[in-house]
Amino acid sequence: MLYLLLIFFPISMAFSIFLLRRLPRIAVSLAIGTLVIELFLAMQVRVDDPIRVLGVTLLLSPLHQIFLFLFLSIGIVTLIAALLFPHGENFSATGLLIIAQTVAILVMQDSFVTALVLVAMGLTAVLAIVDLPVGAGVLISRQTLVAALKYLVLMVIAGILLYAAYVLTDIFRPGELPGRISPARFILALLAAGFALRMALTPFHTWLVDLVGYAGSLAAVLIIALPIPASLLVFLLTLQSFPTLIFDGGQALNVLRIGASISAFLAAALALTASTLRQRIAYLITSHCGIIFYSFASLSLAGLSGAMFGVINLALAVTTILISLEMIEYPTGGPSEPAHTDLLWRRPIASTGLLGGGLALIGWLPLPGGTSYLLTLQAAAKAGWGELFVLLIAMILATLALVQLTVQYLIGPRTRTPVPESLLLGETEVDRPPPMRLPREPWGARWLIGSLLVTMLIIGIFPSLLLPTIEAAVRSLAVISAM
C-alpha cells in the first residue's frame, strides 16, 4: 500500500492545492509539507519487496531509492525557492503532479507503462511552462508559447517512438525471420531516438534551449532535473527487461555510443557560440546529457555507474544553476540583470552557485561530475581511442564555454555607478526619483544555494557514499552479467 500512497498522495494534494492557487504562500507551504511527508513515507518503504497491482509489478530497488530521495529533495528545495521568488500560479500543483509521476516511474517495473507515464509527465510540464504568477499584469510571451508547443510536440513524438518500440518488444523473438532487417535493431533505433529526444541530445535539443531561455527557472528545474534522470532509468529498465535486444542488435550499441559522443561535442561547440547566458547554460546541460548517454550506451560496469552518477550530478547541478539564475534576475524578474558583466560582485552567492553548478556540469573534481566523467572516460578508453578523443574534445570545449561565460558575465569589469546629471533649471533633488538600488540576495536563497553546493561537494569528495549501491545495482543487471 505504501507504493500506492507514494504515487497517489502527491496527486491528491496537487488537486487540493490547485484550489488554493490564488494564495501562493499557503499553496507552496502545503506542497512542501506534502513532500516532507512523502520523504517520510519513502523511508518506510522496504526495498526489494515487490507487490503486484493491476498486472504491474511495483518495486523499489536500492538504486531507485537513491533517486527517490534525490527527486523528493530537489522538489522540496525548488518549492522552498518558490517561497522566495516569483513563480507560476499553478507551480505547486504541477510540481507535485510531476513529482508523483516521477515516483510512479521509479516504482513501476513495466517499460510500456513507464513510457506512458513519461508522456503524461510531459503533458503536465507544458502547464508549468506557460504558467504566469498570480495577478501578473503581463501577457505571456510568444517565445514561451513557442517553447511550450515545441516541448509538447517533441515529447509526444518521443512517446510515440517509445510506445512503438515497446509494442514490438512484445512480439519480438530473437533470431526470427533471417534475412530481414533484425527487429532488435529497429526496436533499438526507436528506443534510441525516443530517449535522445527526451534527454535533449543534439540535434534533438531545441526544446531544452527554449525551455531554459524562456520558461521560469523554477519550472525549468522540475522539467529538466526530474524527467531526464527518470528517462534514463526507464531506458535501464528496458534493457534489464529485454536483454536479448542487445545481443541481437549487433553493432547498434557502437552507433549509439558514437552518436552520443558527437552529440556531446556539438553541444559543447554550440555552448561556445551561444549569444545569451541562458543559452550557454542550456548547451552545457545538453553536452552533459550527451556524455551521460555515451556512458550509458557503453554498457560496461564503469560506463553504467558513470551514467547513474552523472544523472545525479545533472539533477543537482541543474537545480543549483537555475535557482542561482533566478536569484541573479531577482527582483527584475527578467533577463536584464545578466546583461551586466560583474555579477560575481553584484550577486556573489548566486554567481558562486552558477559557477559551482557549471563546474559540476563540465565534470570538474571534487564535484560529482568529476567522478562521473572519470568513469565515462574509463569506459571510453575500453571502447577505443577515437571515441575517447571525441569525448575529451567535448569536455575541453565545455570547459572553454564555462570560462567564456565566467569572463563575459561573472568577473568582467565592474559597472560604474552613473554620475548624476546636474539639476535642470527649477528642478530640486526632491523632484528626482530615488536612485535604483539593487536589493540584497535573500538570506533563504543564500542558504539554499549554499546547501546545494555543500551537498554536491560532499557527494563529489566522498563518492563512496553512493557508488557501491550504484555498482551493486549495475552488477545485478542481466545485460552486464551476460557481457
Binding site: F112, I140, A164, I171
Partner: protein, 240 residues
C-alpha cells in the same frame, strides 16, 4: 488485404484531418475516426464481445468514449475562443499589445482567401503517406492482419504529416491525437494476438488517460495562443 468499411472510414477521416483546415470539420472527423477505430477493433476475433447484450466489446466502448471526450474538449475550446479571460489584471501595455494582435489577426483573416495552393502540400504528402501505408504492411508486417497494419500505419503517418504541414496549433494537436490512436490500435492489435502477452488493464487505462490529457493540453495551449494573438496561426507565433 480485405477491404473493410471501418478501415475505409479510418482512412477517409484521417485523410480529411490532414487535408482540411476548418476546425469544425476536423474535430468532427476526429470523432468519426475514433468511432471507426472502435468498430474495427470490435469485429476482430481477438477482442471478446464482453457486453453480450449488444454483441459489443468494452474495449471498443472505451475507444468511443475517448473519441467523444477528445472531440468535446477540442470542440468546446474552439467554440469559446472568442471569450477573453483574465484581462482585468492586465496593465495598459498588455492591453495595447492585445489590441495590436487583434488588428493583425483581422488583417490576416481579411487577406486570407481559400487558395488551392494551400492544399497542394497536404494533398501530395497524403498521397505519399497512403502509398507508404499500402506498401509497409507487405514489407514490414507487424499486426495480425494486413488491414490492421494498413490502419495503424496510415493513422501514424497521416498524424505525422498533419503535424508537419499544420498551419495552426489545433491542427498540430489533431495530428498528435491521430498518431496516438494509431499506436493505440497497434497496441490493442499486436499485444492481444495469440503469440503476444495479452492486453493488460494498466497500459490500456494509461493510453486512454494520456489521449484525454493530450487533448486537454492542446486545448489549453490553443486557448492561450488565441488569447494572446487572436489567431491560432503558427506563423504569428514566430513573428516579432
Amino acid at each position: 488485404m480485405s477491404i473493410d468499411l471501418w478501415i475505409i472510414l479510418i482512412a477517409i477521416s484521417a485523410g480529411g484531418i490532414l487535408l482540411l483546415r476548418d476546425w469544425r470539420s476536423t474535430v468532427g472527423l476526429l470523432m468519426l475516426n475514433y468511432i471507426a477505430l472502435a468498430f474495427l477493433l470490435n469485429e476482430q476475433p481477438f477482442v471478446p464481445a464482453d457486453i453480450a447484450q449488444f454483441n459489443f466489446s468494452s474495449l471498443a466502448l472505451i475507444k468511443i468514449i475517448i473519441g467523444i471526450c477528445t472531440a468535446l474538449i477540442l470542440g468546446v475550446t474552439a467554440l469559446t475562443f472568442s471569450r477573453d479571460y483574465g484581462l482585468e489584471g492586465l496593465d495598459e501595455f498588455g492591453q495595447a499589445e492585445l489590441r495590436r494582435a487583434l488588428r493583425a489577426a483581422v488583417r490576416q483573416r481579411s487577406a486570407e482567401t481559400s487558395r488551392l495552393n494551400d492544399y497542394i502540400l497536404p494533398f501530395w504528402s497524403g498521397i505519399a503517406g497512403l502509398v507508404a501505408s499500402l506498401m509497409l504492411p507487405i514489407i514490414y508486417p507487424i499486426a495480425p492482419s494486413p488491414g490492421l497494419d494498413f490502419a495503424w500505419y496510415w493513422l501514424v503517418l497521416s498524424g505525422v504529416l498533419a503535424m508537419a504541414t499544420a498551419g495552426d496549433v489545433l491542427k498540430i494537436g489533431l495530428g498528435m491525437l491521430l498518431c496516438m490512436s494509431g499506436i493505440d490500435l497497434l497496441y490493442s492489435a499486436v499485444v492481444s494476438s495469440p503469440t503476444a502477452s495479452g492486453l493488460k488493464i494498466m497500459p490500456l487505462l494509461l493510453l486512454s488517460v494520456v489521449q484525454i490529457l493530450l487533448a486537454l493540453a492542446v486545448a489549453y495551449l490553443a486557448g492561450l495562443v488565441y488569447g494572446r494573438l487572436k489567431t491560432l496561426a503558427i506563423s504569428e507565433l514566430y513573428r516579432g
